[in-house]
């Protein structure tokens, strides 16, 4: 199992334990997580709040140091600022003094010194996420959904092999969410990156991912690992009326309840 993941230079997570220390108490958030993700795979991590999903994503992005266990992203351990990884946050983190275009460029310029190439890529990306004509708009002038689109374009402008998304659409209304989920799928298909998506929305996880990994409540362990065999390419809005999708969703919901108790997301 570990061999195949390393061979294809996907993501390998072995016996990861992570705890936070504070006021004499030690809080274990990840307790022996092992997971192997193939290159190009789209994996969703779901689970109740506080189960350590984001901590795991932070470890993969190199934002927090590994305490125990072994993690390989590609052929090397995770590190911050690696050219082959990109991270998207729950909040858009757009710089208010930069236009939509300049916000994407802010990130992309750290990876790509060629201004002309950047211009072409950024215009194409903003077009892909439906922001054609808003290149010169400042974040303040954009709706929340539009800001998150800019953040999505910024993430994919890094043209990274590994993309880590932390509840990227958590704060959006249902309609906007569907639109952006489709945009995300199109970008993923185009870039063929390996995606790890943290989500508290089971419907989102089922619609987008190849595999849904269910984590239990704190301390986080892997409770279920379910392949989503819906055909690709998918359309999230078309899935809404697909019975296969709803059957899968119902099955996962059952697994989730069994694994975590009925209080998911509470």
């Amino acid at each position: 199992m570990s061999l195949s993941a390393e061979g294809s230079a996907g993501i390998l997570i072995e016996d990861v334990v992570h705890s936070y220390r504070g006021r004499g108490k030690t809080l274990t958030v990840l307790d022996g997580i092992s997971l192997s993700i193939k290159r190009g795979e789209f994996v969703a991590l779901v689970g109740p709040s506080g189960c350590g999903k984001t901590t795991l994503l932070d470890i993969l992005s190199g934002l927090i140091d590994l305490q125990r266990g072994r993690v390989m992203v590609g052929k090397v351990p995770p590190a911050v600022g690696r050219a082959d990884t990109a991270r998207m946050f729950a909040r858009d983190a757009l710089l208010p003094w930069r236009t939509a275009y300049a916000n994407v460029d802010f990130a992309m310029a750290t990876r790509n010194p060629n201004r002309d190439r950047r211009r072409a890529v950024i215009h194409a990306l903003l077009d892909d996420v439906g922001l054609n004509g808003f290149e010169n708009a400042y974040p303040r002038q954009l709706s929340q959904g539009m800001r998150q689109r800019v953040a999505l374009a910024r993430t994919f402008s890094l043209e990274s092999d590994f993309v880590f998304l932390d509840e990227p659409f958590g704060a959006l209304d249902a309609q906007t969410k569907l639109v952006l989920q489709d945009k995300l799928l199109r970008l993923w298909e185009k870039m063929q990156s390996t995606v790890v998506l943290v989500s508290h929305d089971l419907a989102e996880a089922v619609a987008l991912a190849d595999r849904v990994v269910v984590m239990s409540a704190r301390p986080g362990r892997i409770a279920a690992d379910i392949a989503i065999d819906l055909p690709r390419p998918r359309s999230v809005s078309a899935l809404q009326s697909s019975s296969d999708y709803h059957a899968l969703y119902a099955r996962l919901w059952g697994e989730l309840e069994r694994a975590t108790g009925p209080a998911l997301g509470a």
């Binding site: 992005s61 190199g62 934002l63 911050v80 600022g81 690696r82 990109a86 991270r87 946050f89 909040r91 983190a93 710089l95 208010p96 003094w97 930069r98 236009t99 802010f106 990130a107 750290t110 004509g133 808003f134 290149e135 010169n136 708009a137 400042y138 303040r140 002038q141 954009l142 709706s143």
Partner: protein
């Protein structure tokens, strides 16, 4: 595309954004644009006319109070006296020279205090330990009513321009330093997280995140500082005399000439207002993303 109106002023993208966001906010009614701007114009006219009436009322009742003797004219002067005095002294150059004297000292103190404050802020940002070390002293100096130092400055630097400038600098420096530091501390943690994930260096984070974040509060400091620098300069002039507007006020009030005092006060108002208008313009341009 909603609201493809006929009017085409402003940058097309911004206009479009405005229209799109408006129509998603609450189903904009077709043609609402025109009656909106019509209403706005009428409102604007009402406000301007209202202000003129208000001004006339104040001046009128001021004149009436002084003329009837309800309040002695020796205390409050009379608009019919100090307005002509203002015109006369402005035309013969006396007020103009005094204003130039005050203004040049103010601008010198503003520039000097501003540069010193920004340099200090930069040094404190680069050496956080230094900042930790002197933080309480900055707070204490900022809390001190620094006009209380003016008599001391006059003893140290004499009756001339230098003591006026130092007095202005003492106000400007701490106001701008304080605001700049507060601004630099208000960096959004999300932006730092993003910078980290992109692998930006400390230097890049400072130049591309911290400084732009601090700019709005730097401008608040500059605008506030300018007004207070003028205060510092005029205070020094009131105490030390010399050629500035403060000295004129001091002279007129010592000779019980209320009309003279009010005439100079009007000049001061114009000077202060013009200064802060210029600042606001520059600020608006530099922080146009913030609107």
């Amino acid at each position: 595309m909603p609201g493809c109106g006929a009017s085409s002023s402003g940058r097309p993208v911004r206009r479009w954004v405005r229209e799109v966001t408006r129509s998603t906010d609450n189903e904009a009614i077709e043609g609402a644009d025109l009656s909106d701007s019509d209403k706005q114009l009428r409102h604007r006219l009402f406000i301007v006319a209202g202000r003129l009436v208000l001004l006339a009322l104040v001046v009128g009742s001021w004149e009436a109070l002084a003329w009837t003797g309800l309040v002695p004219a020796a205390f409050i002067g009379r608009p019919s006296k100090f307005l002509p005095l203002l015109v006369e002294q402005t035309l013969n150059g006396k007020f103009v020279l005094a204003a130039v004297d005050t203004l040049s000292a103010t601008l010198m103190a503003f520039a000097l205090g501003g540069i010193l404050a920004l340099a200090t802020a930069l040094a404190l940002a680069v050496y956080p330990t230094l900042k930790e070390l002197i933080d309480p002293f900055i707070d204490a100096m900022n809390a001190l009513p620094r006009v209380a130092l003016v008599p001391l400055f006059i003893v140290w630097f004499g009756l001339g321009t230098l003591s006026k400038v130092v007095s202005g600098v003492s106000l400007m420096y701490f106001i701008l330093l304080y605001n700049t530091l507060a601004g630099a501390q208000s960096v959004d943690p999300d932006h730092l997280q993003l910078s980290r994930s992109l692998g930006l260096s400390r230097r890049e984070v400072f130049l591309r995140i911290v400084i732009p974040t601090a700019i709005p509060s730097i401008f608040v400091g500059l605008r506030l500082g300018l007004v207070y620098t003028l205060l510092g300069v005029v205070t020094a002039e009131l105490i030390a005399g010399g050629k500035g507007l403060g000295s004129l006020i001091s002279y007129y009030s010592n000779t019980f000439d209320a009309d003279g005092v009010f005439a100079v006060l009007l000049v001061l108002i114009v000077v202060a207002y013009a200064l802060s208008m210029v600042m606001t313009r520059i600020e608006r341009w530099l922080t146009r993303w913030n609107r």
